[in-house]
């Protein structure tokens, strides 16, 4: 069976581009705080979602709706309505993180396929089987903290499909529990759907040196010949204890393209590309690349050479935790 390519779409145009470029599945969200990419000008209103699902289905692709933030106390109805509307739009599944929402979806829409978001940080077979047994979860998006052997160990102990990230931004925190953005701006990806919200980001060109500020804190200063800094606190460059460096995480991007055969052997069903905040051009290029890779694998051909470096955050790549060389 060909591994499924699951692609991001921040706009209807990106959804159409992903489908045309060969995506088996596209994930997207509503234009509110119910999804973890709640950025200006991004995402789908209700009618755009229905049209997007129709377009994908007409081309043989599936649509997953990410409702993967955690409901605010007293305001759960916003998240419940998003689940109801995803079902109405004809979406093939919803991606949820919060146990209360999983319970609501399982009780209210028993036919709706449930995927467990990476935000739920389910990193062992026991918790995955709990979600499957309790709510009927059919697929889990694994946190980006597991090695390939650990993923194989999980798949050996569960019938739940596993989906793993293969390309895009990385996150240094325990998945789903980031406090850095909240500390600097008062807004977080988990509650408000915005990591380092653009409204709190400022860039200033200072005679070729580029300063990046988040919530008033200077988080990086890039020299003239360096790539522009990524505006998240976790990838900032700081001076502390007489040393200057990336205190939390290097500004590198995940690229596990060459690990696809090992991930397939480990029992992974689907490969996820990060980047709903990126452009239609990015989506089309990355999707084409990964679709060519899984088709080559299925046909027994060597994987094509990766050519995605310039599209990555910080223009540098890593295989992340899949190869835990530090252990």
């Amino acid at each position: 069976m060909v591994m499924e390519i699951v692609c991001p779409a921040g706009t209807p145009a990106a959804l159409r581009a992903a489908v045309r470029a060969g995506a088996h599945t596209v994930y997207c969200g509503f234009n509110d705080e119910t999804n973890a990419r709640n950025f200006p000008g991004l995402n789908f209103d209700r009618s755009e979602m229905r049209e997007g699902v129709d377009f994908a289905h007409a081309h043989g692709a599936r649509v997953l709706v990410a409702i993967n933030t955690f409901p605010r106390a007293g305001d759960q109805s916003i998240w419940h309505r998003a689940i109801d509307d995803a079902k109405l739009s004809g979406a093939d599944a919803v991606i949820l993180a919060d146990a209360g929402l999983l319970d609501y979806a399982a009780r209210t829409h028993p036919g709706l396929r449930l995927h467990l978001s990476v935000q739920a940080a389910a990193a062992n077979a026991d918790i995955i089987n709990f979600y499957a047994g309790t709510f009927g979860v059919k697929r889990v998006v694994l946190p980006r903290v597991l090695s390939v052997p650990e993923i194989a160990a999980i798949n050996a102990e569960t019938d739940v499909e596993t989906e793993v990230f293969v390309f895009g931004g990385l996150c240094v925190m325990a998945e789903g529990r980031c406090s850095l953005s909240s500390y600097a701006t008062g807004l977080s990806p988990n509650m408000n759907g915005v990591c380092s919200p653009a409204s709190h980001v400022k860039y200033h060109d200072n005679n070729g040196e580029l300063d990046a500020k988040l919530g008033g804190f200077t988080i990086h200063r890039a020299a003239k010949d360096e790539p522009a800094p990524y505006p998240t606190l976790c990838k900032g460059c700081f001076s502390a204890g007489g040393q200057t460096g990336h205190l939390f995480e290097d500004p590198v991007s995940l690229n596990a393209e060459q690990l696809i055969p090992q991930l397939q052997k480990a029992g992974v069903r689907a490969l996820k590309i990060e980047g709903r905040q990126r452009s239609k051009s990015y989506v089309a290029q990355v999707v084409r690349n990964f679709r060519a890779a899984v088709d080559a694998l299925e046909a027994g051909r060597p994987l094509p050479e990766g050519m995605l470096a310039r599209l990555s955050e910080g223009q540098a790549m890593t295989t992340g935790a899949y190869k835990k060389t530090w252990r």
Partner: protein, 178 residues
Amino acid sequence: MPQPQVPHCPAALARILRVAPLVPLSLALTAFCRHIGKRHPGLFRRLGEHSRVRFVLNPVDLPIMLCLAPNGGAPTVRALRGNCEGEARISGPFAALLGLVHGAYDGDALFFSRDLVIEGDTGAVLALRNAVDDAELDLSQEIAALSGPFSSIILQTAAFAERRTGVSMARPEEDLAW
């Protein structure tokens, strides 16, 4: 697939813009922008709370700047030879700005590589980038739609200029691999 290198804008265009009258140019650009807004209403809708922000578009290889005020869907464009006042500024080679409109380049990639510099209201810049990306604009087609019987000449001229200069004059055809 790597991002293509951003080509240089022909020096002749810069020479023309050094002496071109800016009032008629501003009026023409405003009319053109309103025409685009009518054909792509989602463009200004996507700007949301940023639809009253004044954007400064600074093509660094041309002697003018453009001040775009969306005005909630009744946009105006002013071309200036001095500095432009605005809440959000996007600077980069003219070919990069045109390529972004046409979806030929990824905006984040151009930003990380320092081909583009943004200053001021980052949220507004992001909203504009996303709105333009979703609108799937083709400026040659938009001009052709206004040109009546001359539309085919416009499209042929744009295609010729793109071949000669490498500057993105129209939306590239998608590679329908599947």
